[in-house]
């Protein structure tokens, strides 16, 4: 397990990141004024459902936003340098070497026409200046490090010859080959069986602690968050609605969406007769009304008799030390501990 | 049973530039075909012997303007083209329609039932596709004798094979779609599933294929006519004009050129519409 840095050094800081899309159906911000920071050696989890903007946030950080999307505002500061200001060439040097990303479907994220070893080698070719022999050794070492049995033989395999779990290990090997400081994992285990998921998560944990890599873990699975995260940012409809450390999030969630999410997930070993479902569906981002984006589905608002939720858009406010919420139930007052 | 809003916009046919061009050209051709007698300046068969091989724009003593010139027998080229559209469209559309009908039906049955029926039909498809189209058309035409009917059959009959293969392929993948399985689970008879759950999804591809085949068929009809095996000489046709004009292409370029242009533009229009059809159907509905 990674050492607990209570006040770790901030490695990556994202401020006011906004990514806009212009489609036939309308314009919207897939990522809207998102700010968070990632500390050295720690794991931050971005939690949300579809349409929350969590994947697009990661792509924005990596400079991989697909058109017709564009980052229109904000800063992504890695060690003080703004990644958004960098040229394409500079970003290519960063990708794979300082920040790496792994994706949900490993078999489709790998190139089906190249052997696995060749693809890992490619990372070395781009960022290191080694001889072929050294590269091969490093590839084998990388595969071994991710627990691939018989790495010398496996490096000649094609992606489709590998199972989902093996393919994901290869992706991790590629991502960590040049020892990046940050690993972004976008739903890395969603497509995998639960036993394989456990292996991959543990692998990520071990690799992280041995090389002190920071991890941004994107997921919709609260179990994965509970297992892996140090800090959590909950996203809804393109915005961050709550951030805090993982224990506080599970012990005392503040935002009604977070509470609703936790209430609606069945917990193993604790069967309830009925789940507390959040009514309604995620709003269409092109048709957002003024006010809080969660208002239409929020029971707490009705119970508290608040009308401000529908007229004014709440800001993300730190209402307790280390715990920020975007909700009128808490804003404007420091909640006594 | 349930009436409601239309799905997809046919309107995009008019907003996409390429499709619009196609539609306009095709509409013009269709209008010519339907109203040929009215639009046409003169009777296309009428020979103005004093004005044989007159260049475009020549005006006769009787005040008749040969807008696109005359051919070797003094027949007005423009009138010939207008009337010729009938033959081209009717023959081509009917022939392709025949092929499509047979092909879609057989492809549907073949893909859905599988087994020996599928094998038999697909071998028939293989054989048909291997034989060169023009050769088949020629042979059939010679075997069936002269007449519009035999031309249609000769041109259309071999078109079934591509349709069958295309449709069968789509049926194979659609057969396992969950909404098809749902119909099976609901006790739907085979006919219902084929016609209501599968056919609508393959029809669009078939129509696209057909629209592309019409172009080829028009050219083929022109070729048959060129060889003297197509429509009889009294009936004006683009192929006929193309063939005739060949003899004096250096002296009177307008006969071949304008009839050839008519063919090219019509085929182009059909292809443009076919392209639009490709984009129009799926994404909206299969999202």
């Amino acid at each position: 397990m990674s050492e607990a840095h209570d006040d770790g050094r901030v490695l990556l800081e994202i401020k006011g990141l906004t990514t806009a899309f212009s489609l036939a159906e309308g314009d919207f911000n897939a990522v809207d004024n998102v700010s968070f920071s990632v500390k050295e050696g720690r794991t931050l989890s971005l939690v949300g459902e579809s349409g929350s903007g969590k994947s697009m946030t990661a792509l924005s950080v990596m400079g991989l936003v697909p058109s017709p999307g564009k980052v229109v505002a904000g800063e992504v500061l890695l060690d003080g340098r703004n990644l958004l200001d960098m040229s394409a060439r500079e970003m290519r040097k960063i990708r794979g070497a300082e920040i790496s990303m792994i994706f949900q479907q490993p078999t489709s994220a790998l190139n089906p026409t190249y052997r696995v070893g060749t693809q890992i080698r490619e990372v070395f070719k781009l960022h290191r200046d080694w001889t072929r022999q050294v590269e091969t050794e490093k590839v084998i070492a990388a595969l071994r490090a991710v627990g691939m049995p018989d790495p010398e033989a496996r490096l000649r395999a094609y992606p489709h010859e590998l199972s989902g779990g093996m393919a994901q290990r290869v992706m991790i090997a590629m991502a960590l080959a040049c020892e990046p400081r940050i690993l972004i994992a976008d739903e890395p285990t969603t497509a995998l069986d639960v036993t394989i998921q456990a292996q991959i998560l543990e692998l990520i944990r071990e690799l992280q602690s041995s090389s002190d890599t920071s991890v941004i873990l994107i997921t919709h699975d609260l179990g994965v968050v509970a297992e892996m995260a140090d800090e959590v940012a909950v996203m809804y409809a393109g915005e961050i609605v709550e951030t805090t450390d993982v224990e506080t999030l599970f012990d005392e969630p503040l935002h009604p969406y977070t509470k609703g999410l936790m209430g609606s997930v069945p917990v193993l070993g604790d069967p309830r007769p009925r789940l507390e479902a959040i009514p309604g569906t995620v709003p269409n981002l092109t048709e957002l009304s003024v006010g809080c984006r969660f208002a239409s589905r929020c029971q707490a608002r009705i119970e508290a008799g608040l009308t401000v939720c529908q007229t004014h858009h709440p800001e993300l406010v730190e209402v307790r030390p280390g715990h920020a919420v975007r909700c009128w139930l808490y804003s404007g007052q420091e909640v006594a501990e | 049973m349930f009436a409601g809003r239309e799905v997809g916009t046919l309107r995009s046919m008019f907003t996409t530039p390429s499709a619009l061009v196609g539609v306009v050209v095709l509409a013009t051709v269709v209008v010519c075909a339907i109203f040929a007698d009215v639009i046409s300046p003169v009777d296309p068969a009428q020979q103005h012997l004093l004005y044989r091989l007159s260049p475009p724009g020549t005006v006769s003593e009787d005040g008749v303007t040969f807008v696109l010139g005359t051919d070797g027998l003094g027949r007005d080229v423009l009138s010939g083209i207008i009337h010729g559209s009938r033959v081209s469209l009717i023959v081509a559309v009917t022939a392709v329609g025949l092929g499509m009908l047979i092909g879609v039906a057989l492809g549907l049955v073949s893909g859905y039932s599988g087994g020996w029926l599928d094998t038999v039909i697909m071998r028939a498809v293989d054989v048909t596709i291997v034989l060169p189209f023009m050769l088949m058309a020629l042979v059939l035409r010679l075997a069936l004798g002269p007449g519009l009917g035999s031309i249609v059959i000769a041109l259309g009959i071999s078109g079934w094979a591509t349709h069958a293969r295309l449709v069968r392929g789509e049926v194979l993948s659609l057969r396992n779609k969950e909404y098809v399985l749902a119909s099976v689970a609901n006790g739907a008879p085979h006919g219902f599933i084929m016609l209501r759950r599968i056919l609508p999804h393959v029809l669009a591809s078939a129509i696209v294929l057909a629209s592309l085949q019409v172009g080829v068929t028009i050219v083929a009809e022109a070729s048959l006519t060129f060889l003297g095996l197509g429509v009889p000489p009294e009936i004006p046709s683009w192929g006929q004009m193309l063939a005739n004009g060949r003899d004096y292409m250096t002296r009177a370029w307008w006969v071949t050129t304008f009839s050839g242009l008519a063919i090219v533009l019509t085929v182009l229009a059909l292809n443009l519409i076919g392209d639009w059809l490709c984009d129009y159907r799926d994404p909206r509905l299969e999202r």
Binding site: A198, E227, V265, P266, A277 | A3, K177, N186
Partner: protein, 339 residues
């Protein structure tokens, strides 16, 4: 003993698979000799990872797939080879809800027509009556009757799943297989659909076979749970029994792999790659033995363990030599002290 509504006996589904251009074909047993009694009114969860055969089994029970061998009895009658009118009667009483809300509805059909289809094929009512029943069912699944004229793409995933459920239930079947009905949905929507299924099951007195890979979801909704591995059932027990005291080593492995529910419950797990063997080349004897922590050579790798109740627990079934033997030892211990 409750009334058995569906019984599968030695149900097997084999597929011929090509092993590449020159290697010929091999047989894959997606479902391998499954015996299962399903009781009237219960919810039975079928759980397992990819390749375990749960979806294949579910579809065979609904007769969407022909078994290669074996027998299916529904309500006392052998329906394995039934056709024509009897098959149609079966289909009226046995239904299925599919996993993918995006492909389970015909995109070109209005949802009202899709939902009315079962009524249409079974000759229920005339056009107006069918329309009314569709309207009522739409309301029952939490939608509005005016939605009947809309097309599937106008609805969200959760709503489409509701429509799929409505379609499956419109004939008031007795038996429904739900094939991963919530796996493709967002977490917050899953809860809505699970609640809906539970409500409808109560209201319509359904027998429900719930196929899923998410153990927490299965625990939430099931009365009994069957765990499948590579085409066989390896454990079958009452819900609470299975989750509190798993017997089969694979069940234990599954439960152990489920992520923590709270950060303080984190545990280190083994990151070593322990993968599913290829179904083309299944292990001899017990299919799980290569990954099994209590594997005993010479026994587990030679003889296929039968699905047997451990003598101390007649309501549970386990396919494990070692556990059955321990069970016998345990009852033995009551009289004579052995170990």
């Amino acid at each position: 003993m409750s009334d058995v509504i569906m019984r599968a006996s030695a149900l097997t589904k084999e597929y011929q698979v090509r092993r590449g251009a020159l290697k010929g074909t091999a047989t894959v047993k997606a479902v391998n000799g499954v015996n299962l009694d399903i009781r009237r009114g219960e919810t039975i969860g079928l759980v397992g990872e990819s390749g375990c055969g749960k979806t294949t089994l579910g579809r065979m029970l609904v007769k969407l797939l022909e078994p290669t061998s074996g027998k299916i009895e529904f309500d006392g009658k052998d329906v394995t080879n039934v056709r024509g009118r009897e098959l149609k009667e079966f289909r009226r009483r046995v239904q299925i809800v599919f996993q993918d809300p995006f492909s389970s509805l015909d995109p070109r059909a209005r949802i009202g027509d899709s939902m009315a289809e079962p009524l249409l094929h079974h000759g229920v009512g005339d056009k107006d009556e069918r329309q009314e029943r569709v309207a009522k069912m739409l309301e029952m699944v939490g939608l509005h009757r005016s939605h009947a004229t809309r097309f599937p793409h106008e609805f969200s995933g959760g709503q489409r799943q509701r429509i799929g459920i409505g379609r499956a239930l419109i004939l008031r079947p007795d038996f429904v297989v739900a094939d991963e009905p919530v796996s493709a949905l967002d977490v917050s929507v899953q809860a809505q659909i699970l609640n809906l299924l539970a409500d409808l099951q109560q209201e319509l007195s359904l027998t429900l076979v719930f196929v899923a890979h998410n153990l927490a979801v299965v625990e939430h909704i099931s009365d009994r749970v069957a765990v499948m591995y590579l085409g066989r059932i390896v454990e079958l027990a009452e819900r609470s029994e299975l989750f509190s005291r798993p017997t089969h080593p694979y069940t234990e492995m599954l439960l152990d792999a489920v992520p923590a529910s709270h950060p303080r419950n984190r545990r280190p797990r083994a990151p070593e790659a322990s993968e599913l063997p290829s179904p083309l080349d299944p292990p001899a004897g017990c299919l799980f033995h290569p990954r099994c922590p209590i594997f005993e050579a010479g026994f587990c790798d030679e003889v296929v363990p039968p699905l047997h109740p451990p003598p101390s627990e007649p309501s549970r079934l386990v396919a494990c030599h070692v556990r059955i033997r321990e069970g016998q030892t345990r009852t033995f211990d009551e009289g004579e002290s052995q170990k």
